[in-house]
Symmetry: D2
Subunit: 268 residues, 4 copies
């Protein structure tokens, strides 16, 4: 792992408490102002990540080294981010690991791209397609911040017209019309490779599952994941009042090799 | 990635449909019997993963290359496995990736160990502690099957008495008394390192959160994740009737470096 | 309320513990056998409801007076029952109370009919339609057991062809094609009256909501309710592992009086 | 049921769409202003409930007759209201119906009191205890609005010191220390009567369940209910993004009659 000393241009996650955290770039002469006093960021240079220190008002902050989840949650956004809970499951269902080659579309904020790159590095590669230039530029900025840009190829093509890569391990879809990409994903994937699609609506799910069934994918499953935070304190423990009730459904499947006498997958 | 041709001694996931899959080792002369006819496994040797083929009764099976999730779901069990949904979130919260060094306890079935090894390989390492020899042997078998044993050190020590490693990136706990391990996890972790604990009961969560607060951990959060599968078919789409309502709560936090004038983390 | 003494022909709920309860009719000479010994039911006659007593093996049972929920859970079934959690919400959304007149279709097991009758008695009336004679007979048996048959009119007509009643307070639907009944429900209802529909699939919900929008219903809402039981014991409290993940969606709306210049209800 | 013509001093629920509804008292000379134009309320007098009419800007509103749920949702609040989903289940578990006698504590906003009165009228009675005079006055106002005050006795006593009523059908608790009321509820209840307790925290649940076990209650169960609204529109159907993740746990049980040789209820 990289050195744990905070250096010029490193990102730190300033943590006041669980609900108040700030992602900042450490730069000489930069001051960060909060309602709990100000913090001189260059005083952090040379300290180790994890150091606790005081603001001008004597309030203790901790300067954490950002994790993948922190980078996801603090992505600069031009559109809705994919949530860590969904990203974690998409990564698991995709089966990827260090060395995998994966196609993604669309790039969006780059939050999911960041996670894919994090898990396939250093030998793997993420090929991510995005049509809107403004989104691509923003995603590039987010990837640079995490030092993961080297593992990513940002592409501008239209995946509903085709995917250029071949023999990839996984195809990950988070776009409005995943069913139109399914035949191209089949061409791009290795035999037995995985496809994972994230969609907010039921209609998208039904069309995608039908496209998977028609294109010789098997082991098709759709799930949704509800995450609820707990308020933990002796004698007062309870789930939080508000939660995100829905982000989207995750559908995943595997590429089977076409044979002459095939039986279609029955609906799950 | 490894070659996609099925070889002698490779594991395959025979897939009849989404609900009926079988993890098998390919061996010369071995036959697998199902109520849909038998399958001669050595006929798969030399075929590519993903191949569809027929049983003796003409039913089509697909021979998939097992993914991490398949290995987790098909672990040989001496105890309760950790579920893929929880493993996915534990991995995300731990912040680990290729090259990370992580301590785990207890080893249990080795399902979580398998996932940790999968994500830290090839340069990283998992140090996993288990007191019950029978569990350790079973976990070793599961890890061998996935070719991940090289990245794992199976240890027999009692983590409530101490952890030998130092400067690790993450500590992952799935045992009955996580709160007793928290002070040792603090010693083992790099500054800013992550701790993640999985527990079925509220009481374990409260004690663990208190131990984290007392031991200078910050950014403490507890969540639970409910996953529900969908039955997808045009005109008949609906969530499945039965679901797993609870597996456990996941608590995660970060190591702060002790200072003289500290303020305790407020309960989340 | 009725006398609390147990009489010949009364129903009792024999309760061994929370998971083992038995609905029985008290009859002279009748014996009830369990793996915890046998119970002579006529010994209960003249005792008060709530009495604890011993089986032949000295195990303590309690003879409870069945509540509405007990009658629902112990309905004799020819088809899927509606769950108490859903019945409770259907009743709430229907707005009914003592004196209300309500149309129901289909009768099914009569579980929902039982609840509707319970809440509209003694002056109100439930008009319940069922095409399958076998279901109607079974429902009649369930209603007799609860002494609620006097408040119910069991009807055999086809509600997709029309509803005979007029100026009813509520229409409650639990059948395969609720959208076909919506125009007839409009005719049957008082102005401002409520319609509540229970359906397992998304497709049924979409068609029903569209029919409501087209037929001058307003204040349209669809919800689902997930109920999870807790395992409560000091130091070991946690949600139960298994839960019912889905029963159905509940859609409810209100009859608006048609005007010449109307604006359609926007989708919720 | 009461006449459906709108009269002076009647309450109406003005409904613009599902998300924008307003509870108003119809009074001569009163005008209601919205961002969609103003509405002269006295023009509604003599019209039937359910009538659609236009605001000064030509926008269509519907004047609905408020249901129990509307009154609950639009309660004047000095404290947190109990949600309709929880009230519906509390009523179901309590087993009450027309004619029942029920004790409640605390009165709070009177939302639950309103529901209890609605279901026990006209012959039943709700005895509701509240220590804070300000809450009691507010609850009285809410009950007057629904014409249910005749079925309610507002009391100021401290239920942790005792309950005056005897032989009641149900005791319903929504206060901070329900376990202190359990012995008094036992005294107040008929044999086989029901107790239902609503609490936000796990700790309250554990203490209440223990008190029920120690005080000869049986058939003890604790559940929580999560309700999620759907956004229904052809091709775009999905659950809403935000939901209330937690309101409280509902514990219910039944009074058994003490015997000499009793066996304690095992934890559920």
């Amino acid at each position: 792992m990289a050195s744990q000393k905070i250096g010029e241009c490193d990102y730190v996650l300033l943590c006041l408490d669980t609900r108040r955290t700030y992602m900042l770039k450490v730069e000489t002469g930069k001051t960060f102002h909060t309602h709990k006093g100000y913090v001189k960021l260059d005083e952090l240079i040379g300290k180790e990540f994890g150091v606790a220190f005081q603001s001008s008002l004597g309030i203790v902050f901790t300067a954490l080294k950002p994790t993948l989840e922190d980078y996801i949650m603090k992505s600069s956004r031009k559109t809705q981010i994919t949530y860590p809970k969904d990203i974690a499951l998409i990564v698991m269902f995709s089966g990827i690991g260090s060395g995998s080659r994966v196609v993604e579309s669309g790039t969006g904020t780059g939050a999911l791209t960041t996670a894919l790159a994090h898990y396939v590095k250093p030998e793997g590669r993420v090929y991510t397609y995005e049509l809107r230039e403004e989104f691509q530029k923003n995603a590039e900025k987010n990837l640079k911040r995490t030092n993961l840009l080297d593992y990513v190829e940002l592409k501008s093509g239209d995946v509903t017209a085709g995917i250029e890569e071949r023999e990839v391990d996984a195809v990950v879809l988070d776009l409005a019309v995943p069913w139109l990409v399914v035949p191209h994903a089949y061409e791009a994937l290795k035999p037995s490779g995985t496809i994972v699609s994230f969609s907010p609506t039921i209609d998208q799910v039904v069309k995608t599952v039908e496209a998977l069934q028609e294109n010789n994918f098997v082991f098709i499953e759709t799930i949704e994941c509800m995450m609820r935070a707990m308020q933990v304190a002796r004698g007062k423990t309870r789930p939080h009042t508000m939660m995100t009730g829905h982000t989207g459904y995750i559908t995943h499947a595997r590429k089977a090799v076409k044979t002459r006498q095939e039986t279609p997958e029955k609906p799950a």
